[in-house]
């Protein structure tokens, strides 16, 4: 029953990041409902159900390690290429799913936005959680891969993954927040995103090692500038860290360099990723909250 002691709920012109985070926490039941619904509906009506979640990346692994590894010869310069490409594709798959799903997360839920009130950032957030879930279900496949290849990353590396995974989530969430909000005002965004994702699959060190780019840039231009531009893409840094920690372990590339040589290239370093991720997330969230008040009207 309502008494004069019941706390007021305030709807004002704008939310601040602090209050918004609290409101999302209070509405975590909505996040849970959205994520659960999405995951349970994905393989509904299919005979093999959940097996598809593992089968798809497994096929991708076979395809890439045969076509690029054997036919194009990448496995000659990258040891255990199938592990390398699987780790890279897991990380890439996470970003690509969060970014493309995130971009349309607001516009595809117009029916909810125009009728009920809840923190709108829950929609891009739940896309990122679903992306994370799909990343996690591939881990058993990766472990089988480790067993077949007979290489295991040191436990310390697995622990070191945590800050990098945290940074990956922050970058993906920032991108989803910004793109979902902009897409409300300019629907071109979602198409632009598809094109850019196609482009960045090749502009990030997914199928090849970053050392190829490093060497090529050094040879042709004798300068690190172009490499630094290449590394401005945070996906690159994160993919490299994942490769370094899960595939690389303490081993060397075939050209004698090790992955952590990146530190010597003057680009983003290990601890820089979560810190930069947090700063980026703060500004992305602020931009989202600035654009959010007109969502219901624009849809």
């Amino acid at each position: 029953m309502i008494t004069s002691e019941t706390p007021w709920i305030v709807v004002g012109p704008k939310r601040h990041v602090g209050t918004a985070v609290r409101e999302v926490w209070e509405a975590r039941g909505v996040v849970r409902a959205l994520v659960r619904r999405e995951i349970s509906s994905r393989y509904r009506g299919s005979v093999f159900g959940f097996a598809w979640a593992v089968f798809k990346p497994l096929m991708q692994l076979v395809l890439f390690s045969v076509v690029i590894g054997k036919f194009l010869g990448a496995s000659k310069s990258i040891e255990d290429y199938s592990i390398f490409i699987f780790v890279s594709l897991m990380v890439w798959g996470f970003f690509s799913e969060c970014i493309s799903g995130g971009a349309t997360s607001i516009t595809s839920s117009a029916a909810l936005i125009t009728k009920v009130s809840f923190p709108r950032e829950i929609l891009p957030l739940s896309r990122v959680i679903i992306g994370g879930y799909n990343f996690l279900v591939q881990i058993p496949v990766l472990i089988i891969g480790f067993a077949i290849a007979g290489i295991w990353p040191p436990i310390s590396n697995v622990v070191l993954i945590i800050p990098i995974a945290f940074a990956a989530i922050l970058f993906a969430l920032s991108a989803a927040l910004i793109l979902s909000a902009i897409n409300v005002y300019a629907r071109d965004t979602q198409h632009l995103v598809e094109v850019l994702l196609m482009l960045f699959l090749y502009l990030s060190p997914i199928m090849y090692s970053w050392t190829f780019v490093w060497n090529a840039v050094q040879e042709r231009f004798g300068s690190e500038l172009f490499f630094k531009i290449y590394m401005l893409n945070p996906i690159s840094s994160i993919v490299i860290e994942f490769q370094d920690l899960l595939w690389g372990g303490d081993r060397f590339y075939s050209d004698g360099s090790i992955a952590s040589d990146l530190i010597g290239t003057g680009t983003l370093t290990y601890w820089g990723l979560p810190i930069f991720g947090l700063i980026g997330f703060y500004f992305a969230y602020r931009l989202f909250l600035r654009l959010e008040p007109n969502f219901a009207r624009e849809l």
Partner: protein, 382 residues
Amino acid sequence: MPNKILRVEGVSQRFDYRRARTIQDRFTRAKVEADSFWALEQVSFDLEAGKSLALLGANGSGKSTLLKVVGGIYRPTTGNVYRKGRLGALLELGAGFHPELTGRENIYLNGSILGLSKKSINTIFDDIVDFSGISQFIDSPVKTYSSGMYVRLGFAVAVHVDPDLLLVDEVLAVGDEAFQNQCLKKVRVLQSEGRSIVLVTHSMDNAIAFTQESVLLKHGQVVYAGPTEVAAGKYHQIVNESAITNSNTVSPITGKIVNSDSSNTLQHKVSADVNIDFAFNAIQESLELSLNVEIWTSDGYRIVNSVQKLLIHSIAQSHSGTITLRNLVLGEGEYRLALRLMNTSDDSLVAVNESVGFIAIPRSASNSGLIPVEVSIGNLEG
């Protein structure tokens, strides 16, 4: 200290006319259409817990926008809305269902948005489905639902989530009569439990039946906030005044029921004469007008419409007179008296006064209804 459930403070809402949806649009036509208008301007009112409120106004007056601001769908451009407790809302058609999800999934999603745990949704799930009467479709995607089914399920969810404040926008007009009655009954139950309802409606009947307070809006501004009966009279005035196309014919018409009390009400016996003084100025000469005397019931039916011819010869002269309704016979209740001046040459409305006064007939034990009839039973056997 009165116990408020809703406080709206200086809320203004600006809408931008920007239909640019693609980058191409943005470059080619952005400048032309970058314009804005204020859908709400400095709207303030509050509502005591346990009371209900109607938002009234003509089309485009901003009442639905205001309801959406109260419901948190739109954020106000300036000002704040303060509310307490759980909110149930049924805005326009459907209660915010995801078209791809089944009815069942939507109940859970909606429940969680309204702040219910999965467990508490489980306990009310059957009641919701029963109330909606669409149990055989509950596992079909809601995009396959008819508009009636949509509203049924939406209303069922909104009233079963234990709302402290229920927002309802016109939806009671959808659905068949049986379902409407079911809804209205449920609304009564909620009210008797001390919950508050904010209603947007064009039906003064519903407004008076379900709310004590009203906020009357015109062009996004509050023109009246107070008891619903009074607001309803002013609503008629606003809506009908907007039908006056040529205001250069006569001045507004004033009227008063002779012998009415301070609240403009005549305490009437079942049958008696009613006298009305009226006055207006003519701005044009040689007018052929008709004066309509109308009596409306409180639930919005016109039961008397008497048309009298008036010939006006001179300009700017105060025209006045007395209308007598001889031996007016009315059943118990409250009636509203309205006057209209029509120009008979083109049949246009030139002046209107929607609340000349009220006529109240005291309640009697044996006779309700519009027409008092003396009934006696004879030859009673057995």
